[in-house]
């Protein structure tokens, strides 16, 4: 069982990186906070954790998937209502923030175009995880982490540039 002292240390060391990772992963800080909290609760119930950081990021990734599936089911039930609500709530963005919002939207779209493993590996790496930790968290071989990351980076750049070109063409 993880001791309370150890859990406190884990929380102190990894809460902020984990929330950032999840925010980047989900695009929503509320959800990121929730899942980060769930992750630490699970850590509390865990008998032993050998590689703490990779364990936390792996559990957080799994929770994202679980929660996503659950919410997806809800979404399907309420698609019609959602569409109506969207139509009613569509608001033109502030001109001053439009450019920034567009950049973020492009980044969000581009990151979502990656395969899940590529995306997780990239976001974990950006959060400072080492190759060994990424391999452990994602169940990859150590040798394939570099390949996964290089592919993720290339595809992310390609997707982003492609989206930018589409956006420019629409404006033109």
């Amino acid at each position: 069982m993880v001791t309370p002292e150890r859990l406190a240390a884990l929380f102190k060391d990894y809460h902020a990186p984990l929330v950032r990772f999840l925010t980047r992963r989900l695009g929503d800080r509320d959800s990121a906070e929730e899942i980060a909290q769930e992750t630490f609760v699970r850590a509390l119930k865990q008998e032993t954790i050998t590689s703490e950081r990779s364990w936390l990021f792996a559990v957080a990734s799994n929770l994202v998937r679980d929660e996503a599936r659950r919410e997806s089911r809800e979404r399907k039930r309420h698609d019609l209502i959602r569409a109506r609500a969207e139509a009613e709530s569509s608001v033109e963005p502030e001109p001053t923030t439009m450019e920034r919002a567009e950049d973020q939207a492009l980044a969000r779209q581009a990151i979502e175009m990656l395969g899940e493993r590529d995306r997780d590996a990239l976001l974990m790496r950006e959060e400072g995880l080492g190759y060994e930790e990424i391999a452990e968290a994602l169940g990859l071989s150590l040798a394939s982490v570099g390949t996964t990351l290089s592919r993720a980076r290339r595809r992310l750049m390609e997707a982003y540039e492609s989206l930018q070109q589409e956006r420019s063409a629409e404006r033109a």
Partner: protein, 458 residues
């Protein structure tokens, strides 16, 4: 990374593949392997290009990922669909619902109710109830949340990670030890701060509230008139010195702040109202940025090594309670005893740039100032003060006026050229605003040290 062979080459078998290059740039290779790859890259133009490209990809991807950090709370952008579809393409192919708009919001998002949220809310409510039952005062908003994560509370309910609500057991199985864990509490407080944003108190824009003039001492009614004159002059001087440019001028040429009033006023008039207002605003803003103490009252404990030394009639050590920076104008300073007792003396806190400040004493019967250098753990400076009679005698000295004005003009022109940083580059400048040697009683120049301290309860 020892299990990756160096011969992980591209299809042609001549060069290290892209993954290996990324691992090398990510410093994930061991020393020997890294050196081998580096040696190869030095000799291979093809690989040099690949390395350059990989560097670009790494930097570009980091930039794109960093752009995701602007995601506000409650803006989950159809991530559920994307995550699920992403899972289907977990093998690495491009997937996901790229067409899902970022503004996609479900009814549940509108209602902001999710199972996890409901579980959290229930847990927090139960924890809060337990906390109140135990008679603990909730001294901060982090406590209810802290109990959620405080495994030392054997009676705290478990958070059901499956998101189905607060379950029974869970944390209750933890061993009961110390009552609270301050480290964990602070971490949870930080968590709350991240989720709710930092609560910052800022001054309401507009004119500062007028302050009542210092109450004249009933012990000396005969001196009331002269003291009122001195107090009025101190106030008007404080208003004049609010601009960083004026303060910089005086720092440069060493003009006494007690120079003839007409002289100083005419010099200030030349500066122009517009530039003065701009400089004042910039000065206050800069001070707030540099000191970071624009929230709430901050206190400085000021000490002097000289025995029996005083500023005005207040002996050292003393505590200066500095008001928050107003939208415009100087920050008010209350002079307190170290026990927190108020004294009749007050002051005006004026930034000089470069984190140096001047504090103009506002006390009937006295005139004085204190110049403190930048805060490097402590602020070193000089304090001067003198009885009002000395000030009145100084006003009577008129011959030095033209010279002082020309010095001020020249210095002000220099200050304009050099702009604010030049003032900042003139550090503590403890002698800047000291009164010139008066013809009357000698003015004591006291070396003082000011350190941030907890404001005493007044």
């Amino acid at each position: 990374m020892t299990d990756r062979p160096m011969d992980a080459t591209d299809a042609a078998g001549e060069h290290p593949d892209e993954g290996l290059i990324h691992a090398w740039l990510d410093e994930a290779l061991d020393a020997a392997e890294s050196e081998r790859l580096a040696a190869h890259v030095r000799e291979c133009p093809v690989c040099q290009e690949r390395v350059a490209e990989a560097r670009g990809l790494i930097a570009g991807a980091s930039r794109i990922v960093a752009a995701l950090d602007d995601a506000p709370a409650g803006s989950r952008a159809g991530w559920a669909q994307n995550a699920v579809s992403g899972a289907a393409t977990a093998a690495g192919g491009a997937g996901g619902d790229s067409a899902t708009p970022v503004t996609d919001r479900s009814l549940w998002r509108w209602l902001r109710v999710t199972p996890a949220r409901a579980a959290l809310a229930a847990t927090i409510l139960v924890a809060l109830g337990i906390t109140l039952t135990q008679g603990r005062l909730a001294d901060d908003s982090a406590k209810p949340m802290a109990s959620v994560f405080n495994p030392q509370r054997a009676d705290a309910p478990a958070f059901d990670s499956a998101g189905e609500g607060a379950g029974a057991g869970g944390l209750a199985r933890s061993e009961r030890v110390a009552a609270r864990d301050p480290l964990l509490d602070s971490a949870v407080a930080r968590n709350l701060e991240l989720s709710q944003g930092r609560r910052v108190l800022k001054a309401v824009p507009g004119q500062p509230l007028p302050q009542a003039p210092p109450t004249p001492s009933p012990a000396a009614p005969a001196e009331l008139d002269s003291r009122a004159v001195v107090a009025g002059r101190a106030e008007s001087q404080a208003r004049r010195e609010i601009t960083g440019a004026v303060a910089a001028d005086r720092a440069r040429v060493g003009i006494a702040r007690d120079a003839p009033a007409s002289d100083v006023v005419s010099a200030d008039r030349e500066a122009g109202a517009q530039s003065s207002a701009t400089a004042k605003t910039a000065d206050v803003a800069q001070l707030s940025r540099e000191t970071g103490n624009d929230v709430g009252i901050t206190c400085l404990r000021v000490e002097s090594a000289e025995p029996g030394a005083s500023w005005g009639e207040q002996t050292f050590p003393m505590v200066l309670a500095v008001d928050p920076a107003p939208a415009s104008g100087a920050r008010g300073v209350a002079v307190l005893t170290t026990a927190g007792a108020p004294t009749p003396a007050r002051g005006s806190w004026i930034g000089l740039g470069g984190d140096s400040v001047s504090i103009i004493l506002r006390r009937i019967g006295y005139a004085g100032s204190m110049v403190l250098g930048p805060d490097r753990g402590a602020r070193a400076g000089v304090a001067v003060s003198s009885p009002a009679s000395a000030q009145l005698e100084q006003v009577a000295v008129g011959e030095a006026a033209p010279q002082a004005r020309s010095r001020a003009d020249g210095a002000r022109a220099e200050a304009r050229k050099a702009a604010a940083p030049s003032a900042a580059a003139t550090p503590p400048a403890a002698t800047a605003t000291q009164p010139s040697a008066p013809a009357g009683p000698p003015v004591r120049q006291l070396r003082v040290t000011a350190r941030a301290t907890t404001c005493p309860t007044r």
